[in-house]
Symmetry: C2
């Protein structure tokens, strides 16, 4: 893709604040993203069981795709020849790609890390591959990622302070190499990733290293890896105040609705998580009154909508009884409908958060959110 003069520069505008929470807009070559924002996950260049137009229809303005999966299948060069992920999958908004770091770390015995990068075997066919900061950044260029992520090591949890420090320092050296490999294009950006596990002084040093390099945005990595919500929140409280104000902040791989509400209150602008889509395939629906398992027999003759306040097709055109039947009968339509619902629920939540911040009412919004979640599901018929 050639640069064009009429494409907007990549940028971030802060529109409002409410405590630590921020209401903003990320401007990209392919459209604006209102923050706080949730990015649906399209691992293999498809938001599973959804048409891209319907993803957009839920309110999503940006989606996430995956370097690791796409480099293996269909391959970065092939995706490049096909015009990039956005063109291939028919998504006309901005696209963020993760760097592959998180996935290759998860491969366990199939991977080997050294200063250069990570050598690993494909989970598909056992073929050997290597990811380095340079290779990951180049692949993300080929995928035509609007936002490229630096290649980092996601520090495992728990770990000692020394392990966390060494891992963070490696990630910072890799961040510098990622930045050097990044090819600037108008309206495109690259995010650095803060590491340092749950150690505040390491998080602070990581931020100093990243801001010295300079990125268009900053992600918080290495959280939601088993430390629990409380420790995630205190780590965020020790981290976000040190991040630059006029750049977007992205908490990677988070999370449950309550995690998102809490992280927004602690200054995070962007999120991604497989939870709404994955849960949509395992019969778990997110509602204003908490999560609901649609396989449960209590729904078998319940003609009420899953969430009466939701405007998605699953809630406006179908009943809990039908969703229950579809999941019991292993019908594809069940996961299509519940994925659609869950993505709608997440986007409605983000919309509510944005509005609350704009109006200075985030505390009340969060209280009402928690109170309704605590109510639990509607009474059985």
């Amino acid at each position: 893709m050639a640069d064009t003069a009429d494409r907007p520069d990549f940028g971030f505008s802060l529109l409002a604040r409410d405590g630590q929470a921020r209401r903003g807009v990320v401007r990209t070559a392919w459209g604006d993203v209102d923050t706080p924002a949730f990015m649906p996950v399209g691992t293999a260049a498809s938001v599973k069981a959804m048409m891209p137009n319907d993803v957009k229809g839920t309110g999503a303005q940006i989606i996430l795709s995956n370097t690791y999966h796409l480099m293996l299948r269909p391959g970065a060069e092939r995706v490049e020849r096909l015009g990039g992920v956005r063109k291939l999958m028919g998504w006309d908004g901005p696209l963020l790609t993760d760097s592959g770091g998180f996935q290759v770390m998860s491969l366990g015995p199939l991977r080997k890390i050294d200063e250069t990068g990570v050598t690993f075997k494909s989970h598909l066919d056992g073929s050997q591959h290597i990811l380095t900061p340079e290779i990951s950044t180049d692949i993300q260029f080929k995928l035509d990622a609007t936002i490229t992520m630096a290649f980092d090591e996601c520090t495992p949890y728990p770990c000692t302070e020394q392990e966390a420090e060494e891992s963070m320092k490696l990630s910072m050296r890799w961040a510098e190499r990622s930045r050097s490999a990044f090819v600037a294009r108008t309206g495109y950006g690259q995010f650095g990733i803060v590491q340092g596990s749950v150690f505040p002084h390491l998080r602070k040093r990581s931020i100093e290293a990243l801001t010295d390099i300079g990125f268009e945005g900053y992600a918080v990595g290495g959280l939601a890896v088993g430390e629990g919500q409380e420790l995630m929140f205190t780590t965020l409280e020790d981290t976000t105040p040190h991040l630059p104000e006029v750049a977007p902040r992205y908490l990677m791989g988070v999370g449950k609705p309550a995690d998102i509400v809490g992280a927004v209150m602690r200054g995070i602008d962007m999120f991604d998580c497989v939870l709404p889509t994955r849960s949509g395939r395992t019969a778990q629906g997110f509602t204003r009154r908490g999560a609901v398992n649609l396989r449960n027999a209590r729904h078998s003759e319940d003609m009420r909508p899953l969430d009466a306040e939701c405007a998605c097709p699953a809630c406006t055109s179908f009943s809990r009884a039908y969703l229950h039947h579809l999941f019991r009968a292993d019908e594809v339509q069940g996961l299509m409908l519940l994925t659609w619902h869950n993505l709608t629920y997440y986007q409605d939540l983000m919309k509510g958060l944005r509005q609350a911040i704009s109006e200075g009412g985030l505390t009340a919004f969060a209280e009402a959110f928690h109170a309704r979640q605590a109510e639990g599901d509607i009474e059985p018929l």
Copy 2:
């Protein structure tokens, strides 16, 4: 559902003829069906991987659902309490249900046939059930089938003339019992099923028996069970001329596009088949130039549409390369898109057939159809 005075009577109008082929309209309580018509299959109250509105959007005016599957799960009484299949699944057009006869016959050692009916074990949990003409008809009432099918024995192929005669006679006795059990409702109908295997005089006697009883429509059963297209066509040629003119004729379980074209030319008005939906889940796409296997590597970088003349979302918004990728990566979106395409292709074919009959150009239409199918797929890039 109570009868209402403003609901149209069930009926069939013959609008045009072209040779043996007929252009007509089936009027039902829940809308008209232009014939020749193809009915997408929604076995378990879902046209697999499709939203009902999108099924309608392809041009389908009636769908088929399944007594056998629905009596086992979620159960006929439950479906009745939920308002019937149409209400449960959100399909506002007419619905035809098969009688369950074909499915229970296929159960092999799990079923036992006698004069009363069929005793069988559920393929889901091994529980014992019985289907008789009376029970099947009652279940279809509970499912709120707009068109109820008589309960019959689908004669296996090959079989001796004597076996075919005995089986046909049993089906005719069951047809009489099915008719007695049928509760008439305005705008609803019941179809008898012609049997007799490939023996013309048995087919003729079966039609005489069914027309003596009197049904709103007549189906041809016991074909597409292994006899091959040629024998199916000659059997149709020996059958349809004896069927009443002013009633719809339904060839059950057929078929491939060429089967449908040939059967329309031999006087058939209605079809159902799992082929477009099932093939949509196994990467086989139907096109104007024949069937295409999208898993084939030749499509991997082909940015052309599957069928350039098709207006479905798979063809207008996505490429062969993307469909190929989706099937290789086992992405649900692949089967969603290809099912949508295949149903669109089938409905486009029916629309073409209807128009050709109206204009007296069916022979030319069929020749052009076969010529294009014979061309084979577009040249690889």
